[in-house]
């Protein structure tokens, strides 16, 4: 995979100086928070329904693509808000149309359904938009503007990504712990039947979980699109990495999902230094298989809690 004659042994010849280390950290954290948001999206839906929503990555793609279209007509902030709202509606529609009326479906069936949804959304996006890459403009600055912090170059957009995603995670935590609705969702997550006995409308909680996941995903997709660009098939790779992050942190724990995302992002980033860069995409899959085979409950997961949930 590395060139035969001329390439030096990757990574080992030059030593990693502190600014290079920091540069890799910045790259790792940038993608880490994105994976974390996708992972949190998985976790929210999983907690209320027991379903892994393979179409999670598509929410990011839809948010970004919709915003790109909208911002031709309205200013950027309005476009982003509009895109988030539309994607939330799509999330709700998915739940109502495809999930809600299923009676006690088997896990296998749900897996197939969400995979089918993911493919259909992707292909419809291809025909609604096109095959090209799109991006929102940089929120502040441009593609090459960069702040220098301790020798590392950080794009202002990275600060937006970390800031917005971080804020989303914090707000979500506040929502779950400090608002009645959020507490109801948590009740539904830990024991659906008991929650129903208390008068909580479980079905609405499920819809809400899809809406939340979709909205968070859409916003994350918008804020990261200037750096990464987005095209109709961007969702699939993100879903796989988000799933890896979710199980790394222990499926069911939103804090774990966020942490898992950052860890995965850093692992991917640093792998480029120590291994040939060609292996970068294998890192996420390897981590996923490693977690699945060795410790399915994840690093932060609780085996007891997982068993109680019936896995």
């Amino acid at each position: 995979m590395s060139g035969a004659a001329a390439a030096a042994v990757p990574g080992c010849a030059a030593s990693m100086t502190s600014d290079i280390l920091l540069q890799f950290c910045v790259a790792g954290v940038t993608y880490g928070v994105i994976y974390g948001v996708v992972a949190i999206g998985f976790t929210i839906i999983y907690n209320t329904t027991g379903i892994i929503n393979f179409a999670q990555g598509e929410f990011l793609m839809l948010g970004a693509m919709t915003a790109v279209t909208l911002q031709r007509f309205v200013p950027l902030p309005a476009a982003i808000l509009g895109a988030v709202a539309i994607t939330m509606l799509v999330g709700a529609a998915l739940e109502v149309l495809f999930i809600r009326w299923l009676t006690r479906p088997s896990v296998l069936r749900m897996i197939m359904i969400t995979i089918g949804l993911s493919i259909v959304i992707r292909e419809v996006a291809l025909h609604v938009w096109d095959e090209k890459s799109h991006a929102l403009p940089y929120f502040t600055g441009d593609a090459v503007s960069a702040l220098t912090v301790a020798g590392a170059k950080i794009s202002p957009q990275v600060l937006w990504v970390v800031g917005v995603c971080g804020a989303m995670v914090l707000l979500l935590g506040l929502f779950f712990h400090a608002t009645p609705l959020g507490r109801q969702m948590r009740a539904c997550a830990s024991n659906r039947d008991a929650a129903r006995l208390c008068g909580i409308n479980a079905r609405n909680m499920v819809t809400l979980s899809f809406v939340l996941s979709a909205g968070m995903g859409a916003l994350a997709g918008c804020v990261v699109s200037p750096i990464t660009f987005v095209q109709y098939d961007s969702g699939t790779a993100l879903a796989i990495k988000g799933f890896t992050a979710a199980i790394l942190g222990g499926l069911g724990s939103t804090a774990g999902a966020a942490a898992g995302g950052v860890v995965l992002g850093l692992l991917e980033s640093f792998s480029v230094w120590f291994l040939p860069a060609a292996y970068k995409d294998a890192v996420a899959i390897t981590v996923m298989l490693g977690v699945l085979f060795v410790r399915p409950t994840g690093i932060l997961g609780n085996a007891e809690a997982a068993r109680l949930r019936g896995h």
């Binding site: 493919i119 292909e123 996923m288 699945l292």
Partner: protein
Amino acid sequence: MGGRWRGIGFAAGLAAAVVAVQLAASAAHKVFYLTQLTMAAYSLLVVLGLALLMGYAGQASMGQAGFFAIGGYVAAFLTTRDLARFKDGTPFRILDHANLLVTRGDGMGGTLTHLHPWAAALLAVVSAAGIAWLVAGPVFRLRGHYLAMATLGFGIIVHRIFLASPHFGGADGISDVPPLALFPGFAVTGRATVRVANYYAAWAVVLLALWMLTNLIGSRVGRALRAIHGSENAAASVGVPIAAYKTRVFVLAAVLAALAGVLATHYNGGIGPSEASVMKSVRYVAIVAVGGMANFHGAVVMGTLLTFLSLRGYFGTLDDLVFGGILLAMMLFAPEGIVGAALGSRVRALYGRRRRDADDSTAA
């Protein structure tokens, strides 16, 4: 109907249809249809194995394309690598002595000495079986979503390896794969002159696989599989060795997929990394779903129809959408498949019980 003659009705009907189609095609001078029907037949082998795994044993696998690719790539690799450089070594001389080496022109004016296609095919299938056996252990300790993702991850890793490795031709894959001589006078190859013979050979393999699998299902093994599918705890409590059965079925499905890969590679004269892609795996799953999860007959009919139309470009730019949409629609509205449950009321009752049990138990 019992014993070794189970399913003879469908098989006879299928055989008759195969012959009828060939005669019709030849009479109408549309022999080219047979090409896509032959390729569809190969993909049926993957689908049948997956139907056994998913439908009967209840284990999801999103990575069957990986085994198809392993079979195809190993066969392609071994029949296109020139071994002449090693001609002074002992292994070479042993192979030569055993008549396992073949020399042919390499299309560029030189000669190429490689492993006999038969030996390569055997090695390919054995490698796939071996890898399946190794992977089955860790994979089957998982359930539900985790199991599906693990098989998906396996498929992706296989895809990445074939895509990245220069030994396997990287993104361009391997071309110039020679024909696979099955008997004296007949070889698996895409050449127009032997198109009809290849068509019959492919469908003969499918019929053989169908016969074997139908008998497997009717036997004690089949009942054990259905028991495992229904409730693993119950099956274990009556002494069914769960892990062993799951592994064997996984390996069998992998062997069928690898066999399909070998035959298709020789037929097409090459293979590329897109054969191991996630979309290919999803297509196989979609066909099993639409045929009716545990329904070999449905899988054969729908698999042939869908693959044939897809290969002809009938779905145009909506190809992936069609397969994804079919998977979605089937799983939403007809989890038992479109061709109807073929197993009779007894198993349908079992299915009803399985559906009710599935959410209470930890089984997939």
